[in-house]
């Protein structure tokens, strides 16, 4: 039992350090010698800014998504506390995986960023005379078929051709900084791109070396991946890099299914009108998100809660601290979202499946799915 308490202590320290105000945002960290060139040469990639601006329909509203509570909750938790480390959504076709992620973009309250910064860096504390503005939190879609140069950034081709000038053109990772990076069909993404993404997601920094130019820029983002298990499993290495993992299934009861079809049909016929109808509901969720974020630092995590979490992880035999940390962070984010003062058992129980199910060692001889195993352990630790 001593070991367990020690363990809980380590996790507790981790968490306390985090809530101590260090946001981890250090602004645009162009620290290399090439930084000066890069800063001069930086330019935003040529593209229409937000999707609705090009005349396309606004995304399906988040609040109008029927059922799929776990998926919605996981996304909100990741939005409250990005350090949870990403969400993996696996499940049947046509269950609204992509819809939910794209809908999230519309919910997120805008963030303050330095004007003209290609990485939409947060204003640095103590620096005067910075021009800042409110920008939408980026939710960047990584299209299948994207090439590596556009993902990590490369030399600006136009400048190279026109004036023979070396300039860095930031890629999708730069655009996703401080926001979300979404990979649909994560299991179909090219392996070498997956490696780059994991590397950057883990370090929070993107390093590009090209034509003698060396660029280093912050790339902190919440990685959201989705996929269909029928298309192939995800590499195990990729699996446990995600903080939360949700399984979505097609609803089987008729009223839910009818509601899904009706809402989607109404949206397809008149996207703008439909979104207007759900605007109030979406705004309410947005306010809960903002309030949750503010409250997050004040959420108490009692030793009892830490012990519970440690016990649960020990029971399931998850390796390392990552599972415990994620579970605790997710429980804390849920407490913040629900307006609680401290992390309660109910919060831990709610988020345990999504925080742990993808961390269990695969046991080919155990017929039970990982969700069932987590639930079994929950019943044993918390009682029925």
């Amino acid at each position: 039992m001593d070991g367990l308490l020690d363990h809980a202590d380590v996790v507790g320290q981790h968490l306390r350090r985090e809530s101590g105000g260090d946001s981890g945002e250090t602004g645009s960290a162009l620290a290399t010698p090439a930084a000066a060139i890069a800063r001069r040469a930086l330019r935003a990639p040529k593209r229409a800014a937000a999707p609705p601006a090009d005349g396309r329909a606004p995304p399906f509203p988040f609040s109008a998504i029927v059922a799929q509570e776990e998926m919605k909750r996981a996304l909100l938790l990741a939005a409250i506390d990005p350090s949870i480390g990403g969400v993996l959504i696996f499940g049947d076709r046509g269950t609204g995986k992509s819809t939910a992620v794209r809908a999230l973009a519309a919910l997120l309250p805008p963030m303050r960023a330095v004007v003209g910064d290609p990485y939409q860096a947060a204003p640095r504390a103590g620096v005067r005379g910075q021009k800042t503005h409110l920008v939408p939190v980026p939710v960047v879609d990584l299209p299948l078929g994207a090439t590596e140069d556009r993902v990590v950034g490369a030399l600006d081709l136009e400048k190279a051709l026109a004036s023979g000038e070396k300039a860095f053109q930031p890629g999708l990772l730069a655009r996703a900084n401080r926001g979300f990076l979404y990979i649909d069909e994560a299991n179909l993404l090219e392996d070498h791109l997956v490696d780059v993404l994991l590397d950057v997601a883990a370090s929070g920094e993107n390093v590009v070396e090209r034509e003698g130019l060396s660029i280093r820029h912050p790339a902190r983002f919440v990685l959201v991946g989705s996929g269909n298990p029928e298309e192939g499993e995800l590499r195990p290495q990729l699996l446990d890099r995600f903080g939360l993992s949700v399984e979505v299934a097609t609803p089987v009861d008729l009223p839910t299914r009818i509601a899904v079809v009706k809402r989607r049909d109404a949206y397809d016929r008149d996207p703008r009108g439909f979104c207007a109808q759900w605007q109030t509901a979406d705004q309410a969720i947005g306010r809960r998100l903002t309030a949750g974020r503010k409250r997050l630092a004040q959420i108490e995590t009692s030793d009892a809660a830490l012990t519970r979490v440690a016990e649960l992880c020990l029971h399931l035999g998850t390796d390392g601290l990552r599972g415990e940390l994620t579970l605790m962070r997710a429980a804390r984010a849920l407490a913040a979202l629900e307006g609680a003062q401290e992390v309660l058992d109910v919060h831990i129980r709610t988020v345990a499946p999504m925080a742990l199910r993808h961390r269990l060692r695969r046991n080919p001889l155990d017929e039970a799915g990982s969700t069932v195993r987590v639930e079994r352990a929950l019943a044993e630790v918390f009682g029925p």
């Binding site: 090439t147 051709l161 649909d184 069909e185 034509e211 080919p364």
Partner: protein, 595 residues
């Protein structure tokens, strides 16, 4: 004005061709809103007639053909290198998907389209736009198009990617249709143009609910399908000249969208009995679903029932027979020789290139390397001029290495003896070993397939898949008992391995049996003939050059099993000498060595 084919009374019988014609009309009307059609038919006059009909109805809308092996640059667009170098600024090239905006994309040999390509196509369809993030180009081009996926598959498992067909509302099978059944058209371009004003036909909640109910009753999981049925119902109403969806429109939509996807019969037993199909396994060319005649003539009844009956009537006879007889499982049979043999597949085929170092074994993709270097020449030459160099400057970061399919992908086919002679506790052990091997295959990202044999037949329990969950489920549900048709099993395994190889993957066969064959190829009892047939089948397997392993599951090692292993030129592993984990390791090593 009423459009021909307006109501049920005007169309006396919905022949397969008539259904196909209605599908073409719906595509011409607003194909993009319903995704498109998956058309299973061999290349031939019937398919040509349908495509011609479609293009007549569509008038001058653009139409593009997508070859199965299309590259990303052509599909999505990217940098137009020639124009870029000529103009001295980046020039984007529009991809096929952007070009076909407002028209029809014909996907040729859709069953051979890679899952990754299909996923890109789906992403564009879902977003209603092509997002290009390639070669220094970043742009988003809105595009809407209908897809006609030409599926020329013959074997049951030769199908277009499910992700793609899931997005196509309509599904036609003209395989069994002869050119004599092609009828003169009912619709023309003018009737389509007239219907176009009404595509926003209204649909009431009751009808939506009833289409959802019918989808669920037919065992269709995806809610996307029910949504597609709603949209098709709306277009059908528009085609019939109505402002609101009438019951018969919903019924026709159910027949078009839901019926071909049915995985079960609605749970109304007396109805199901009435529709007992003729005991035939192959759909005969001249057997269109006959029930449709009575359906159309029947007086309107309860909406729910009407929609469901329409769907049921349209379920192809072959599908019904398959559902009832096999419970949805695919029977093992000799794979058809559809498609071309890929000559290069055995040595790996180039599927693209990636940036990388030239280490040993890597092959430089010269064209791609030069392409990568070309745009930077001006920049580099201005630098090089300072040190007095000229000519083409290729740097290390330009190197592009050819990527092969072959090196990475193996499909392990497990052929498991589930007969009575492999006593049941041995079967349990065999299952344990298979599970361990499955877990290993999963780590290596291999595909696995499972063939079980017992009584008089071998059955593909699990077609090649990467899904561990599916494999474990198939294994858990494996029944045991009966005779040992070893020869048939080896032949089935050979056929599947051949199909796998033609897809460009390397098959590896793992047999788990006691080798005591007692049913010969003809399905007759008799140990001696059965054994001889099994040896002959094993020799022909060796002739194909497949990598094989035989795991002897009998309590004492059997000479027969060792003989068969030798005949197929494979490794022989007696299970008694090793526990399941030991066998797993041995097979892993053997497979790695055989690569």
């Amino acid at each position: 004005m009423t459009v021909p084919g307006a109501s049920a009374t005007e169309v006396p019988a919905l022949t397969p061709w008539r259904i196909a014609e209605i599908a073409a009309a719906l595509l011409a009307l607003d194909g993009a809103s319903i995704g498109g059609v998956s058309l299973r038919a061999p290349a031939g006059t019937v398919r040509e007639a349908w495509l011609t009909h479609l293009s007549t109805l569509r008038g001058g809308a653009p139409c593009a053909r997508m070859p199965a092996g299309i590259g990303d640059a052509r599909l999505l667009g990217g940098l137009d290198l020639t124009a870029t170098l000529a103009m001295g600024r980046p020039v984007a090239e529009r991809g096929l998907l952007a070009e076909v905006d407002g028209g029809v994309l014909i996907v040729a040999m859709a069953e051979r389209v890679e899952a990754a390509t299909a996923a890109k196509l789906c992403a564009v369809v879902d977003a209603g736009a092509v997002t290009v993030e390639r070669d220094g180009i970043a742009l988003t081009v809105p595009t809407r198009f209908a897809i006609v996926a030409l599926d020329e598959g013959i074997a049951a498992d030769e199908r277009p990617a499910a992700a793609l067909t899931d997005r196509l509302a309509l599904r036609l099978d003209l395989t069994a249709l002869s050119h004599r059944e092609v009828e003169p058209p009912v619709f023309d371009a003018e009737s389509i143009a007239a219907a176009r004003d009404r595509v926003a036909a209204t649909i009431d909640d009751e009808t939506i609910a009833c289409l959802c109910t019918a989808a669920l009753a037919l065992g269709i999981g995806s809610t996307r399908t029910a949504l597609q049925a709603v949209k098709v119902a709306r277009l059908v109403a528009a085609l019939a000249g109505r402002e609101a969806v009438a019951p018969e429109d919903a019924a026709l939509a159910a027949a078009l969208v839901l019926a071909p996807r049915a995985t079960q019969l609605p749970a109304r037993s007396e109805e199901a009995d009435a529709h007992e199909p003729e005991p035939e396994s192959d759909p005969q060319p001249e057997s269109p679903p006959s029930e449709s005649d009575d359906q159309a003539a029947a007086p309107p009844r309860d909406l729910d029932e009407m929609v469901l009956d329409a769907a049921k009537a349209a379920i192809p006879a072959g599908l019904l027979a398959q559902l009832l007889a096999a419970g949805g499982r695919t029977k093992a049979r000799a794979a058809g020789r559809a498609g071309q043999l890929q000559k290069a597949a055995r040595r790996g085929r180039i599927i693209g290139s990636k940036a990388g170092d030239l280490r040993c074994g890597a092959r430089l993709d010269v064209v791609e390397t030069l392409r990568a270097a070309a745009p930077w020449q001006r920049l580099r030459q201005s630098e090089a001029a300072m040190v007095g160099r000229n000519g083409l400057i290729v740097r290390r970061e330009d190197f592009r290495i050819a990527r092969y399919k072959q090196r990475s992908e193996t499909a392990t086919l497990f052929v498991v003896d589930a007969s009575g002679s492999s006593a049941l506790q041995r079967l349990a052990e065999a299952k344990g070993a298979v599970r361990l091997l499955l877990a290993e295959c999963y780590v290596r990202r291999d595909e696995v397939a499972l063939i079980a044999f017992r009584k008089a037949q071998a059955e593909i329990v699990l077609p090649p898949t990467r899904s561990l969950v599916a494999a474990e489920r198939a294994l858990a549900g494996l029944p045991g008992g009966g005779a040992t048709p070893l020869a048939t099993a080896i032949e089935a395994a050979c056929a599947l391995a051949d199909a796998v190889r033609r897809k460009g993957r390397t098959p590896a066969l793992v047999f788990m049996t006691d080798g005591r064959a007692n049913i010969d190829r003809g399905g007759r009892q008799g140990r001696a003939q059965a054994q001889a047939d099994a040896l002959a089948a094993a020799r022909s397997l060796r002739g194909e050059g497949f990598n094989a392993i035989l795991i002897d599951t009998s309590p004492q090692p059997q000479p027969q099993a060792a003989d068969i292993a030798a005949a197929m030129g494979g490794l022989y592993l007696p299970l008694p000498q090793a526990d399941a984990a030991g066998v797993g390791r041995a097979v892993g090593l053997a497979l790695a060595a055989g690569r």
